[in-house]
Symmetry: C2
Subunit: 343 residues, 2 copies
């Protein structure tokens, strides 16, 4: 299917509007003054009739409607944040209605013909869609956003990354679990464990998503295959280690990169400073570096602790932080929609 | 100075007996039934007269005495956990008294003639001392304990490590700060920041100890130089990234190792399982892996998430956890003392 151009003022549906990412999608549409002719808040039958905040709407809120295949008639852009099962179930109806589905789930990311897009990194891919564009995994987005500007000036051979991922990646109820467990821990009460495999309060869990046959987690696998797809770099080598930490909503990543040719810290810094969506926050003398507990609600991918990695030829190390719900999910999805409108 | 053999029942002094590590040293002496003829609890003038728990003592406690150069007369083994300045100030008096100083501070670790010892890794080094033996940095100890058994069967070329370090590394008051900040955060009150550079509750701080000229922290530098010294491996390449996380007292580390020759996961696992002081906790299907929030007070270095790192020839990745106050400090120091008694 060839790329169909969208109206200047599209009808937008948010599927999963009551979840952490869906609510943030509405907030981002509002904050970016997205030129929607209409915004529909859709969710499961259970949530129908609830209201969700959305400023341009009369009264500052939208009434949530139960999502059915018919909900997408007249819709131009459908932002999906309702989980993989719902995306799979409704894909045909959305595409048949002539809408572009921008899907935050992992359902279609590795499907050939489905672009996987970070607008700052591979914008052209978005226009090759056949009705569905996938939003990458949160931890992938913030890594490729920082790797891509460096890869342009010195090709990357290998990446070793260890993540420090927030509770928000597991949803709003998981964030509540971190809150509640922390309070119960301090009050010396028994902790209720539901959304994570183990206690997350005052703990680190080296296990995100399910385990695969090779002893890697699916989260680690996602970061490998998604990064290669987004960066058009099938030969890029990646060693990925994912860990959940007791932080509410920003992910952090410690990244060691091996380049094929020399890249100085100064040149890397200049490339990152010039890159869209990146903010370099890196002044050790002033104790300035990005921190996940202090950057919730922000849009950029922050980079700090930039230094040479002399343990390997042409090595560089850095640390990044981004809000998992914003750049890692809702913001990136809305930016894909903006990108589609821009051409 | 040649090695002087110790009496079977030595007189032991604990310098800094009221701090987190000093108290734990007394507890470890008690738990390991260390055959001391006498144990002296020493601390600053400020703490003199306080009592500290120690079971073999009458009444189950020792009265703390103010530490002076004369405190070490008749002492055979002086366990120091009072900070680098105190160790430097009293070194001469301790050695002149004929005692062996086992020092937990960073003051003498890289000094030639001062063995830096992890008993499971380089026991022979301990017997080359000239009055002072240094206890390595906590994050170094748990890493070399896991690397050494692997290095015996396949030489290690390069290590990339990212740490997840607990509040305890900054002392007992820093642990209290994590507690208090967490409560204030949950109660929506302003947070008091004193022992860390920034808020630690619900945050990660990529900054431990001071920054050096090359943009690395001193903690990162310590892990590089101490590992090379302990493992007698000056050519070993290390890329080290240290991060403080909101966990109370166990450190965790994610480690990617590149070997000079093939090493299967099965062989690595067998070597680790056979290694003293190591417990392999690695059953993904049962969601079993070591976690820092759940292993406080334990002695071993736990290893899990063992898997191949296919991003490099002969690569392996794993995760380790150890109690920073025990194996990372007090336990390792007392084990050095045990080692000295054993020959």
């Amino acid at each position: 299917m060839a790329f169909k151009s969208l109206p200047a003022n599209p009808v937008v549906a948010v599927a999963g509007a009551t979840g952490a990412v869906g609510r943030e999608m509405l907030l981002v549409l509002e904050q970016l003054e997205f030129p929607a002719a209409e915004v529909r808040a859709l969710a499961s039958e259970r949530s129908a009739g609830k209201t969700v905040p959305f400023k341009p709407a009369p009264g500052g809120e939208l009434t949530v409607k139960a999502m059915t295949p018919e909900s997408f008639e007249g819709v131009d852009i459908a932002l999906f944040a309702a989980g993989a099962d719902v995306s799979i179930e409704l894909r045909e109806a959305v595409v048949a209605a002539g809408a572009v589905m921008i899907d935050n789930s992992s359902a279609f990311r590795m499907e050939s013909g489905v672009p996987l897009v970070v607008p700052e990194v591979n914008p052209d891919d978005a226009f090759e869609h056949q009705g569905v564009i996938a939003n990458p995994n949160c931890s992938t987005i913030q890594m490729v956003a920082a790797l891509a500007p460096l890869n342009k000036i010195a090709p990357i051979k290998r990446v070793v990354v260890s993540t420090y991922q927030a509770a928000s990646g597991a949803g709003a109820a998981a964030m509540d679990e971190l809150y509640n467990q922390s309070r119960d821990f301090l009050d010396d009460k028994p902790l209720a464990v539901e959304h994570f495999a183990h206690q997350i309060a005052f703990n680190c869990i080296p296990h995100i998503d399910v385990f695969m046959d090779d002893a890697y987690t699916k989260e680690e696998w996602k970061m490998v295959v998604e990064t290669k797809k987004i960066m058009h770099a099938p030969a890029l080598e990646l060693a990925v280690n994912c860990v959940r930490v007791p932080v509410l909503r920003c992910h952090a990543e410690m990244i060691n990169v091996e380049f094929a040719s020399e890249l100085s810290v100064a040149d890397a810094r200049a490339a990152l400073e010039a890159a869209p969506g990146i903010v370099v926050m890196d002044d050790p003398a002033a104790k300035s570096y990005p921190m996940p507990g202090l950057l919730a609600g922000s849009d950029p991918v922050y980079v700090g602790r930039l230094r040479q990695d002399t343990s390997v030829p042409h090595g560089l190390a850095f640390w990044n932080v981004a809000d998992q719900i914003r750049k890692g999910a809702a913001l990136n999805a809305v930016q894909i929609a903006q990108l589609l409108l821009s051409r």
